[in-house]
Amino acid sequence: MSPNLFIIIPAYNEETVIGDVVRDLCEKYPQVIVVDDGSKDQTAARARAAGALVLAHLINRGQGAALKTGIDYALAKGADILVTFDSDGQHRAADIARVIAPIVGGHMDIVLGSRFLDAQDKVPRGRRLILKLAIVFTRLVSRIRVTDTHNGFRALSRRAALAIDIRQDRMAHASEILDEITRHQLRYCEVPTQVAYTDYSRAKGQRSSAAVRIAIDFLIGKWRK
């Protein structure tokens, strides 16, 4: 019996690309959940039209919050495997098979997509230093070694999804997830995934200066636990 797979896509004002992203996924994976995080545009309608189930946050709470909403819903519907996927078209549906394979195989709890395993250096230059610093930071604080600390492409087993507690509403959730992996001693691995940096996604992406805010949010959140 094939595992119950859900794809969770947090989205905020992505009406221009969300339709394509969802349609692309629905070809192979029928259970796509788009969490509309208080978008002011047609994101929800377009996602729904493309075949996704849409969960709607009435107000914008952040990617972490949206992700948790999607995860909670999927778990309630009996999900065995959950895939987190970006809404801006940077991730490829074709990579999903590779990302879920270790979980289907039963020897991993969580699989993290990495842009840097394939040595395909398409990352914009300004970003590279920040990302390298993030890796060091993560190693020191969360005691987990990964090559890509902020990649929204992940696969979680039901067990991992139940264990991980995402309390960070905004971008620090990515660091928090890594921290949770260590805290719960989950079996994890990275697999190479491709990222398509389009002008659209680059324009929408996080400013590198946001990294400091993310680090602070994460540290304070960790301390409060």
Partner: protein, 118 residues
């Protein structure tokens, strides 16, 4: 009276009137009314009797009354700010919990049974 004393006392009267109006409108409790009024009265007293602040300063080992008030104010305000900030964070978290509950509730009403794996 010095100009600053006049100004501050006038402001204290204004502040107290605001507090009373809030209480009348039902926005704050009797305890809060007492608390805030008491605070503003203390401010007025401190400004009107500089000998008091001078004694406080000597007690604390600080040169001038104004300096002592300043130091205490900075420390108190910083702490109050920190407390407020934490309150804000808690409120944000609660807001998210609420928004999430609404989202899941709405979804479950629209689709009570699990979507079929086509």
């Amino acid at each position: 009276m010095l100009a600053i004393q006049v100004l501050i006392v006038l402001f204290v009267l204004f502040a107290i009137s605001r507090v009373v109006r809030r209480f009348r409108g039902g926005g704050i409790s009797p305890t809060e009314l007492l608390g805030w009024t008491g605070f503003w009265i203390l401010v007025a007293v401190a400004v009107l009797t500089p000998e008091l602040t001078q004694r406080l300063a000597r007690l604390l080992g600080v040169g001038r009354g104004a300096d002592a008030i300043l130091y205490l104010a900075v420390v108190t305000l910083s702490y109050a700010f920190f407390r407020l900030y934490m309150r804000l964070r808690d409120l944000e978290r609660q807001l998210t919990i609420l928004v999430r509950a609404l989202a899941l509730d709405k979804a479950n009403k629209e689709r009570p049974s699990p979507p079929s794996t086509a």
